[in-house]
């Protein structure tokens, strides 16, 4: 463990990646995540075995990561919303070719070029696959500096274990906010288990092939089912969520990342007023913690989904609850950062309208 350090979120992810054995990073400038790229430029130069490349485009960066991953090194790229759109082809190829990679999306207001303010408008893109074809990416949504450090470590572990791209979904607020962080001990990249599938020359052994082109429809079908089974395993093994003050709650707010931090503040306020409200915070957005939510719906009949968009995660909430509880929604798209006060007003207005104080 490191000493406690005060650090900006973007730099936390970069430092945590290096400590996780990431030795290849390719980036391209885009606000609000340039601090990550700049940190990597410096940190990789300090390492004897680190490579930093500033690519000529986001498409180039993700495909450099694909190449580095093929060579067996723990690799990462980062960008912000418009840049992630450009990276989708590469992510689809990573998923299809079963190559590990970590991709950070510091979301900003969209669509189009939008703005550079914190937003959660890329939930659909991240959790539904994003690129073309029948695939999913693991999506992790940290909500604090410390969690950015911990989940970055996990992201690399998941990527290698499942040989699949892992997305870390944050926003400008998470990226710019400075919080105290304790880093896990660094991993020596050489100590990582060997990957028996990498392309590194074939002297003395049959050559290996990595590809995503499968023209035979039967084989393609098999490959699709293989990936689907992998995603089922992932859902069984890594799904995580945080429940906060939910034991006695008769209403629960569902939010992730920055929105969850704001909601937590709001819940503390309404608790002081005697309202029995809790927070359910998905930490893995894909796989979505559906079972946990369904379990909760046995007692909780009112959920408020709060997102910094016009309503995206709410679809996963609906799918999870299967009509068992009432779902309310509060959204602020476009880079607006709600205040805890604003959310507490929304919570209490629903709370009293539904006469939950009488329960």
């Amino acid at each position: 463990m490191s000493e406690k350090q005060l650090m900006r979120g973007s730099q936390v992810i970069a430092e945590a990646a290096i400590r996780a054995g990431c030795r290849f990073y390719a980036g391209y400038p885009i606000t609000p995540q340039n601090e990550m790229t700049e940190y990597m430029a410096n940190a990789m130069a300090e390492l004897s075995d680190g490579t930093f490349i500033q690519a000529e485009s986001e498409i180039a960066a993700i495909n450099m990561v694909l190449g580095a991953s093929t060579a067996g090194v723990r690799s990462m790229t980062s960008s912000s919303s418009p840049g992630l759109s450009l990276k989708q082809e590469g992510i689809s190829f990573l998923a299809a070719s079963e190559l590990p990679a970590v991709i950070v999306n510091t979301m900003r207001g969209g669509p189009g070029l939008g703005n550079i303010a914190p937003s959660q408008g890329d939930y659909f893109q991240a959790t539904r696959g994003g690129g073309h074809g029948d695939y999913r990416s693991i999506v992790l949504a940290p909500a604090s500096g410390q969690e950015q450090a911990d989940l970055t470590r996990k992201a690399f572990e998941y990527a290698d274990k499942y040989r699949t791209p892992v997305l870390i979904l944050v926003d400008g607020m998470m990226g710019q906010m400075m919080e105290p962080v304790i880093f896990p001990d660094p991993i020596d990249a050489l100590d990582l288990p060997p990957k028996p599938w990498i392309l590194d020359g074939a002297k003395g052994r049959p050559s290996r092939i990595i590809k995503s082109l499968i023209l035979n429809t039967r084989e393609m079908e098999d490959h699709n089912w293989k990936l689907a089974r992998k995603y089922e395993n992932i859902a069984r093994e890594i799904t995580t969520a945080e429940s906060y003050l939910t034991e006695d709650a008769n209403m629960v707010v569902i939010a992730y990342g920055t929105a969850a931090r704001i909601a937590k503040g709001a819940i503390k306020r309404v608790r002081e007023m005697g309202l029995k409200v809790g927070l359910f915070r998905p930490i893995t957005l894909y796989p979505f913690p559906s079972k946990e939510l369904l379990e909760m719906s046995r007692v909780v009949k009112h959920f408020l989904v709060f997102e910094m968009n016009t309503g995206q995660m709410i679809e996963d909430v609906r799918l999870s609850l299967e009509g068992r509880s009432t779902i309310h929604f509060y959204g602020r798209p476009g880079g607006i950062i709600s205040t805890p006060d604003e959310i507490s007003k929304e919570i209490s207005s629903i709370y009293y309208r539904q006469h939950l104080e009488e329960e």
Partner: protein, 318 residues
């Protein structure tokens, strides 16, 4: 009579009095790019559609709900200015042909920064130049991704320190040479390609006017001094642009139908150290580094002079 004192008398004959890129935008103090855009627009006139790739100019000129633009203007993503420009040009052409809009010579002008042209936009630019759209692509090159906080690009010169190529213990700034974008575009066989700089206003505006007259793809590579990113005082903007030409590190020339011509030719090149030592981004360079850059500048300059002296216009080649 002094021409400056009688500016109102002489200037209208030289340049359009109309402001198409108006004051009040949010560019940094001493921004060469904003100045260059203003001059370019004056040379283009009002029958122009500007297609702006993301970069400093879009951010500083279009902060909602204001705009500095008094020309038709569309802003698009980083890689796409030349593609969108191609669409605009082709769209206008078909509407003109069908008689849906007046048959006027409306010029499509794409503008992009160094990164948007040299790096991410190069594919689209090459495609547009190859297909032969009637458009001017003007690159305003401030030699790094300044808008996002000074990251290196293919346009960043050798030795410059940027936030992703920082000079320090492990590195002495960018270790690669700047791409020669004008040569890349000239190799597409366009009728007109030129380098320019805002520090030579009439030379620059003449080049824009020349490019505007060509019915086909044209390209201008304008060095845009960036006091913020180059770490120079804002009042040194014009001087630095002049030094770039006087030292030969950024020679001003044009390639017209295959014929090379120096439009501003220094009688004798000043040592490149005069240019490098004046800028914070080169502060860490050792005398050996400067010597290395000097050799490269001479070599490139001589290569250019060789072309100026020996290459013929296409029409002279049988």
């Amino acid at each position: 009579m002094n021409i400056v004192e009688n500016f109102d008398l002489y200037a209208p004959r030289l340049v359009d009095k109309e402001e198409y890129f108006s004051a009040g935008h949010r560019a940094c103090q001493g921004c060469g790019e904003a100045l260059a855009i203003r001059m370019m627009c004056k040379a283009l006139g009002s029958d122009t559609v500007i297609v702006n790739a993301t970069g400093c100019m879009e951010v500083v000129s279009s902060f909602y709900p204001t705009t500095a633009w008094n020309l038709p203007w569309i802003h698009v993503a980083f890689p796409n200015a030349a593609s969108v420009g191609a669409g605009v040009e082709a769209g206008l052409k078909v509407l003109r042909r069908k008689g849906k809009i007046a048959d006027r010579d409306v010029k499509t002008v794409c503008i992009g920064g160094g990164g948007g042209t040299f790096d991410i936009g190069l594919q689209a630019l090459s495609g547009a130049m190859e297909r032969g759209h009637d458009m001017l692509y003007a690159c305003f090159d401030n030699e790094a991704y300044m808008n996002t906080g000074i990251q290196r690009s293919g346009a960043t010169p050798f030795g410059a320190s940027t936030t992703t190529n920082p000079a320090g213990r492990a590195s002495s700034g960018k270790g690669e040479w700047k791409k020669n974008i004008t040569e890349i575009i000239a190799a597409h066989g366009v009728q007109y390609a030129a380098t320019a700089c805002h520090s030579y206003p009439l030379d620059f505006m003449n080049k824009v006017k020349k490019a505007r007259e060509v019915k086909g793809p044209t390209f201008i590579h304008c060095l845009a001094v960036c006091p913020t990113g180059w770490r120079i005082p804002s009042e040194a903007c014009i001087k630095m642009g002049r030094l770039a030409s006087e030292t030969g590190i950024f020679p001003l020339y044009e390639v017209e139908n295959g014929k090379y011509r120096m439009t501003i030719k220094p009688e004798k090149l000043r040592p490149v150290g005069d240019y490098l030592k004046a800028q914070g981004r080169f502060r860490h360079l050792t005398p050996e580094d400067i010597e290395r850059i000097q050799e490269k500048v001479y070599q490139e300059y001589n290569k250019l002079q060789d072309k100026v002296n020996n290459l013929h216009a296409w029409s002279e080649l049988k």
